[in-house]
């Protein structure tokens, strides 16, 4: 219903005209899709193993102990070694490895000493390794995925809560609006960082990483939805007094229908221009939290954790901070371009010139 609106279609075509924003958007979507399959891009597990006539796809399957491929150990096969072994044997067995042959958690010290090693094509660490000899490129890929999806989930939740409460406040007004405003004023004054620290000090450490990430997300959403309500509230207030709303009400439309069907689409344009910037805020927040050590639990790959490592070994391993910083800059710039383009295309003053 929203897309079919001719007004919206005009906005979309305007957005497409702004090439910088549009291509940034496409690149971002590309990154998002690509990182959804990062197990195929960077992994210590092979994409494909052909062993004695059988084909194995270890990437998404259960782990294969070394014994499955004629090795003598019961733990996870080292596919890089397996590949070399098969090549040396020349018996027709082969291994197809992903482009980056390391997973983000493994320590792969080149000379048996855990220290950062500089980028090198020869040993397969294209962006070098971090302080415990983990592959930086691999950690960046996985870290970016987590950051992006985290930011999207965050934005979605914040908007959902913000829109519902903001619309309700604007539509019902009166005492409901008054009370909720006071509540939001109090709520938004609770320092968010302290809450994260407090909550994480009581969260049992035994919880799986995914649960901890969900808790972090909930805490962040819990303390970030408030600012959205202001915009929604004013928008709804304005739209509510328009004739078409009165018309709908006289025709007997229900409150839900009026809010979501009539008011929301008209109030939406302001909100949409904020979306990219919320995503940026979320990525910055999660990175900052990781940097401070209150974010994603280690050893989860994350941009903030890499930045932290990078700053602590600025002299000895500048490539860590360069890679992490570079990635962050690229992603944030892309999103900013998208954001500017959206703002431009939703601008009612159509004749402003976009440079």
């Amino acid at each position: 219903m929203f897309i079919s609106n001719p007004e919206t279609r005009r906005k979309i075509s305007r957005f497409k005209e702004i090439k910088r924003g549009y291509y940034s958007f496409l690149i971002l979507i590309g990154i998002l899709i690509l990182t959804s399959f990062c197990e195929l891009i960077s992994n210590s597990r092979a994409l494909l193993v052909s062993y004695e006539g059988n084909l194995y796809f270890p990437t998404y399957s259960a782990f294969h102990p070394g014994t499955d491929f004629g090795l003598d150990y019961p733990y996870e096969t080292n596919y890089r070694e397996l590949k070399q072994k098969f090549q040396e044997e020349g018996t027709g067995n082969w291994v197809l490895m992903p482009p980056v042959t390391f997973n983000p958690y493994e320590n792969s010290a080149q000379d048996n000493i855990f220290r950062p090693s500089a980028p090198s094509i020869e040993n397969g660490h294209y962006l070098g390794t971090d302080t415990t000899s983990r592959d930086i490129l691999s950690r960046l890929i996985y870290g970016t995925r987590i950051a992006l999806w985290f930011a999207l989930a965050f934005t979605l939740s914040v908007y959902l809560i913000g829109i519902i409460i903001g619309c309700a406040m604007g539509y019902f007004g009166g005492i409901f609006d008054l009370l909720f405003q006071r509540f939001i004023e109090i709520w938004s004054n609770i320092p968010f960082l302290y809450m994260v620290i407090i909550v994480f000090s009581v969260v049992p450490s035994g919880l799986p990483t995914s649960a901890r990430i969900m808790i972090l997300l909930s805490v962040m959403v819990l303390f970030s939805w408030t600012s959205m309500t202001y915009y929604m509230r004013t928008e709804t207030y304005r739209e509510k007094s328009r004739d078409y709303v009165s018309a709908a009400r006289i025709m007997g439309a229900s409150t839900g229908r009026i809010i979501f069907k009539h008011i929301l689409p008209n109030a939406m344009s302001t909100l949409i221009t904020f979306v990219p910037f919320t995503v940026i805020a979320a990525i910055t927040a999660i990175t900052a939290l990781d940097f401070l050590g209150f974010g994603l639990p280690p050893p989860t790959p994350s941009l903030g954790e890499l930045l932290k490592q990078g700053t602590s070994s600025l002299r000895t391993a500048p490539w860590i901070v360069i890679s992490a910083f570079g990635t962050l800059v690229i992603i944030l710039t892309l999103i900013t371009f998208v954001g500017e383009a959206i703002r431009e295309s939703f601008d009612p003053k159509k004749f402003t010139i976009y440079e």
Binding site: F63, Y75, N107, A109, G206, P298
Partner: protein, 656 residues
């Protein structure tokens, strides 16, 4: 208009509440200060009620045939080149949570600088010759038959507030440490059971007895440090709060003015007492040289390093290989130009117990097979080779470094996947799940949390984790900040915790603190000797493994009661063996040396330090050369250089 009225009312009401709250707290504050408590009567009665512990005699009662020694002939400590003066800049990782040296939260890393390293005991252990040199006592006589040490106090010894140190302060020391006011069960126990009598002969002569003639009886007594009687007249239930940020009179060379020198959360300054009573004494005159020691809180290690490299901190412990080899390599410009000197010093000291402390009260970890499996799944060899670049050694038992008291037949379990698998499968973990982690028939995964408060060592845990996964064991790493980590183990909430206890220079290891069931549970055993199913975990003790074995308790009790050195050695060996068999502690690594980088104006004696020193600054034999500081900073500005100095002092190196 009406709204305004309502608002005004609300504001007035809120203001009234605010006034009431602040008013109350001020009232309470005044109460606790002004209530003049005088415990003279209480303390005197305490002595009188325990005539067997507190005796009063006269000089005529002093046995005549005592052999008095004074330790005056022991060599001086420190260098005669040492200069007094200057300011030494050091770093604090965390601001201390209290200035008390007993009671809750007092056992932090700043405590040695308030007590252990700086205050003066009756006699000190000479860091080279392992014999006693005089401290507060000028002479002493050891009578093994009566298990008593007789002491003559230095008549010139006085507290930092000019009150003389007298026998009374040692009487009060027992009252203080035995009292419930200080909320320190360890002290209550130690001072209540490890000493049996103190006898006063006159203001400067007294004797202290111990219940058993332990081989190190003399050091137990001569190592005592008095508590200022004249200061604690108001000792009461509010001790822990009232004295939280008070600095009591001290016998140390360094004092602290809590008004001026304490910036909470940020910095602490210790100032040298120009009028220190021991400043001319033979074993102290070349020590405690800096006029001011300024400690600044720098939490982040990398920031600490950069601050050091700028010359704003005088010294940096290059313990980690990464720091020694990469951050400050021998060819770093500051080192090449001789501004910063690097030093390795091989010492002889019981080693801090770095290892994995397994909480045997947790699900699955109460199973010995699992613990044995964890031992075999911990690849310390790789940690030492890869993380410490082979500079460290594997620890064999939790009581290494005590000479004949250490059981040298025990070897820590090696990393061995087959043995680990066998042990885990004994415990029912036979199958590997889809992620390679073992599961049992109920579907439980073999997964534990390893927590630590040592941020600098978190990479060690990453290595252990990766290696353990090969054995089908999952370790979840939890890195906490120092205080939070310590709190976690003190509350016994850990599954596996990585930490080390600093160990004092003692003749033989202690077992009671870490392995006695009394420190694990309230009522650990039923009357028939079986484990009490309703036992309650005891918090705030050092039995981190929650180890409770009746046989261990029996041996610890006889060990504590024994006066026969051979018997104690045998018991120590047996206990170490039992502890090894119990497999609840995974021995990690030991550092055979300490190493540091320091600016050239922070100077050390020619032989650098002493055989039994724990760290470079523990004995305070270093000094600050302010002229050299000027010279160095100027040279740095003008890009001049001095000869580079990277030194290894291995005169006391022990064979691995």
């Amino acid at each position: 208009m009406r709204n305004n009225e309502v608002m005004t009312k609300i504001i007035c009401f809120a203001f009234a509440i605010f006034l009431a709250i602040t008013g109350c707290s001020r009232l309470e504050d005044e109460n606790s200060k002004s209530e003049a408590i005088d415990n003279t009567e209480e303390v005197d009665n305490y002595y009188l009620e325990r005539p067997e512990f507190f005796s009063f005699k006269t000089l005529e009662d002093l046995p005549a045939d005592l052999k008095w020694t004074s330790g005056d002939d022991l060599s001086e400590i420190g260098s005669e080149k040492a200069k007094k003066g200057g300011t030494e800049y050091r770093r604090l990782q965390d601001f201390p949570r209290t200035l008390r040296t007993v009671g809750p939260d007092s056992n932090g890393s700043f405590r040695p600088l308030l007590n252990d390293y700086v205050t003066i005991s009756l006699a000190g252990t000479h860091p080279d010759e392992f014999d006693f040199y005089p401290g507060l006592a000028t002479s002493w006589a050891i009578d093994r038959d009566s298990k008593t040490v007789f002491v003559r106090l230095d008549p010139n010894a006085y507290w930092s507030d000019r009150h003389p140190v007298t026998t009374e302060d040692f009487f009060f020391m027992f009252f203080f440490y035995q009292s419930e006011y200080i909320v320190a069960p360890w002290y209550n126990n130690w001072y209540g059971t490890q000493y049996s009598n103190i006898t006063r002969y006159d203001d400067h002569t007294f004797s202290i007895s111990v219940p058993t003639d332990k081989p190190d009886m003399a050091s137990r007594i001569l190592g005592l440090r008095p508590v200022p009687r004249h200061y604690y007249y108001d000792l009461a239930d509010n001790f822990t709060e009232y004295y939280q940020w008070k600095f009591p009179p001290t016998t140390s060379a360094y004092t602290l003015d809590t008004e001026k020198d304490l910036q909470k959360g940020r910095s602490i300054k210790l100032r040298r007492n120009q009028d220190w009573w021991a400043k001319e004494k033979k074993h102290f005159r070349y020590r405690f040289n800096a006029d001011t020691i300024s400690f600044n809180v720098i939490r982040d290690s990398s920031k600490y390093f950069e601050t050091f490299r700028r010359g704003e901190i005088d010294l940096f412990d290059l313990t980690l290989s990464e720091d020694w080899y990469e951050k400050l390599p021998n060819d770093a410009p500051e080192v090449l130009k001789g501004y910063i000197q690097k030093t390795v010093f091989y010492n002889q000291h019981p080693r801090p117990t770095y290892g994995l402390w397994i909480n045997t009260n947790q699900k699955f970890l109460d199973n010995k097979s699992i613990r044995v499996g964890i031992q075999h799944a911990s690849n310390w060899k790789l940690v030492i080779e890869n993380f410490f670049r082979g500079d460290y050694q594997r620890m064999q038992t939790s009581s290494d470094g005590y000479g004949e008291f250490s059981n040298k037949n025990i070897r820590s379990r090696e990393f061995n996947l087959d043995k680990a698998q066998a042990a885990f499968s004994d415990a029912g973990f036979k199958k590997r799940g889809s992620d390679g982690i073992l599961i049992n028939e109920e579907g439980d995964r073999l997964s534990f949390t390893v927590s630590t408060g040592y941020e600098r060592f978190k990479d060690i845990l990453t290595i252990l984790k990766e290696e353990a996964a090969k054995a089908g064991l999952e370790l979840i790493i939890e890195t906490l900040d120092g205080t939070a980590g310590w709190k976690k183990v003190q509350e016994k909430k850990h599954e596996i915790h990585f930490l080390a206890f600093a160990v004092g220079l003692e003749m033989y290891p202690r077992f009671w603190e870490t392995y006695h069931s009394e420190n694990a549970f309230d009522k650990a055993f039923l009357d028939d000797g079986n484990l009490n199913p309703n036992r309650k975990v005891k918090t705030q003790t050092n039995n981190l493994e929650l180890l409770a074995i009746p046989e261990m308790d029996r041996m610890i009790n006889s060990y504590r009661g024994s006066s026969d050195k051979d018997e104690m050695i045998e018991l120590a060996h047996k206990m170490t063996q039992l502890h090894h068999d119990h497999a609840s502690f995974v021995p990690g690594f030991i550092q055979p040396s300490y190493r540091l980088g320091h600016w050239r104006w922070l100077r050390f004696p020619d032989h650098f330090n002493y055989k039994h020193s724990r760290s470079s600054t523990q004995l305070f034999v270093h000094w600050i050369d302010e002229e050299m500081r000027e010279e160095t900073l100027e040279a740095k500005r003008e890009n001049k250089s001095f000869p580079a100095r990277v030194r290894v002092f291995d005169q006391f190196a022990e064979n691995p």
